[in-house]
């Protein structure tokens, strides 16, 4: 259905192909979360890997930062419609977290947990194989709290609500357990290129 009188502001060449359907490019870095920004001190920070209810391994801030450091520069896409290109992150790849814990991913499903009580489910295969990290730095600087610091999950190829801010753990689950937004009508996988915003998309 064409909208009477709408022409639109086309993205410039080279931008359109990099924008998933329904997204527009922003140069800013908007903040998105369901509540206020939690205040997480580095002294109390912990990251825990769990298989079901069983903790597999846990790191404090210093130990976590001794894990192998990697960089990812990627386009990111928020379900509220903005996309941002070439965002540069560094942190620890999920692959390296698993290697350090001495396990291979034990199930197909993962639930990420965060300090504010937020959760989001991500298929395990979207987290491994060089696709995702726990990011501690953005553009060379420690990640600020509004953007998820001290550490956030980064799964850049899925809508950005999957990249849980203030992450404090990954939990492998037997089933695909819906997280915070997924329980509230958002998509279980969230692939922006298929415009999987909501349940049923």
């Amino acid at each position: 259905m064409a909208t009477r009188g709408f022409i639109g502001k086309r993205p410039t060449d080279g931008v359109g192909d990099r924008l998933p359907p329904g997204q527009y490019l922003t140069e800013d870095f908007p903040v998105l979360s369901a509540g206020p920004t939690p205040r997480v001190g580095l002294a109390e920070w912990r990251f825990t890997l769990k298989d079901g209810v069983r903790p597999v391994m846990s790191w404090d801030w210093e130990a976590f930062n001794r894990l192998p450091q990697s960089k990812l520069t990627r386009d990111i896409h928020c379900v509220t419609k903005w996309s941002k290109f070439n965002t540069a992150w560094s942190g620890v790849m999920v692959d390296d977290i698993l290697a350090e814990a001495g396990i291979a991913a034990p199930s197909e499903w993962t639930l990420a947990h965060a300090y504010d009580g937020y959760t989001t489910n991500v298929p395990t295969e979207d987290l491994v194989g060089g696709k995702a990290m726990v990011a501690t730095h953005f553009e060379g600087k420690p990640l600020i709290a509004d953007h998820g610091g001290p550490a956030r999950l980064l799964v850049p190829h899925l809508y950005f609500w999957k990249s849980a801010k203030w992450v404090n753990g990954l939990q492998f689950t037997r089933r695909d357990e819906a997280g915070f937004w997924e329980l509230r009508g958002y998509h279980m996988r969230g692939d922006p290129w298929r415009e999987q915003r909501f349940t049923g998309d």
């Binding site: 259905m1 908007p30 509004d146 915070f180």
Partner: protein, 253 residues
């Protein structure tokens, strides 16, 4: 629970549908209200939004989200309240091109977190910056009909007197409703205005709103631009409002 006929959650599947523009009102120099009649509408919950999709003749599309400002009222119609962003793509189209009788594609209602139903209870603290008032106005209007005994306070910050959306209605509700208090403040205007404060939102304003309520708020709703919501959430936390009781919606910008 409500006597109102069309309280509805987000549907299991959200389908694009045409909505006819049935009325357009200029509310402030930068805000227009668009009353839409979606083809197939089963109601919504106060706080929810819809997605709007505009399509150019060559198939190019733009999508944006807009909150519903009217209350769930069984009319089968909804009001979108659009603030003009000068450099924007979609808001100038609404302001300059859209006319009564046009059809606009929407899907919704969307949202299962930033919502309020009478059975959720109160007291309610609502904090809005600019067009962040829109979903909170839906909450206030619905509360006035469905549960006027639930205490509510609204902190509402706008730039100037002329930018206050629904100013007359808010002042009237504050005067007539013994369970509702209004704390409107203007960040860029100095001329004194009856019933309206001056300056940016701060801790003192949050404290004043809290004191107007008979008990601590069960839920605090914050809505507006990113910087506004970040500032307001800091003041709310500093004022002792529990983290888990605060719900935020951020419009970008």
């Amino acid at each position: 629970m409500s006597s109102l006929p069309d309280i509805a959650p987000q549907p299991a599947r959200l389908v694009w549908q045409p909505a006819a523009v049935v009325a357009i009102t200029r509310e402030t120099p930068r805000v227009k209200i668009f009353r839409l009649k979606p083809a197939d509408w089963h109601g919504f919950t106060a706080g929810q939004h819809v997605d709007v999709r505009l399509t150019a003749p060559d198939g190019y599309q733009a999508e944006r989200s807009y909150s519903i400002g009217s209350a769930p009222d069984g009319s089968g119609e909804i009001e979108l309240v659009i603030d003009l962003i000068d450099e924007g793509e979609v808001s100038p189209f609404f302001h300059e091109v859209v006319e009564i009788g046009d059809e606009i594609e929407i899907r919704g209602p969307i949202g299962g977190h930033f919502i309020w139903r009478a059975e959720d209870g109160g007291p309610l603290l609502l904090i809005a910056g600019g067009s962040g008032l829109v979903p909170l106005m839906s909450v206030l209007r619905y509360r006035a009909q469905a549960a006027p005994e639930i205490p509510a306070a609204l902190i509402y910050s706008a730039r100037r007197r002329e930018d206050l959306i629904w100013c007359g209605e808010l002042l009237r509700r504050a005067a007539e409703d013994p369970n509702f208090s209004l704390f409107a403040t203007l960040s860029r205007e100095t001329a004194p205005t009856e019933g309206i404060r001056h300056g940016r939102i701060d801790r003192a304003l949050v404290d004043a709103a809290l004191e107007s309520l008979p008990a601590p708020p069960k839920t605090t709703f914050l809505c507006g631009s990113n910087p506004f919501v970040s500032a307001a959430s800091t003041f709310a936390l500093d004022a002792g409002i529990p983290f888990a009781s605060i719900k935020a919606e951020r419009y970008g910008g």
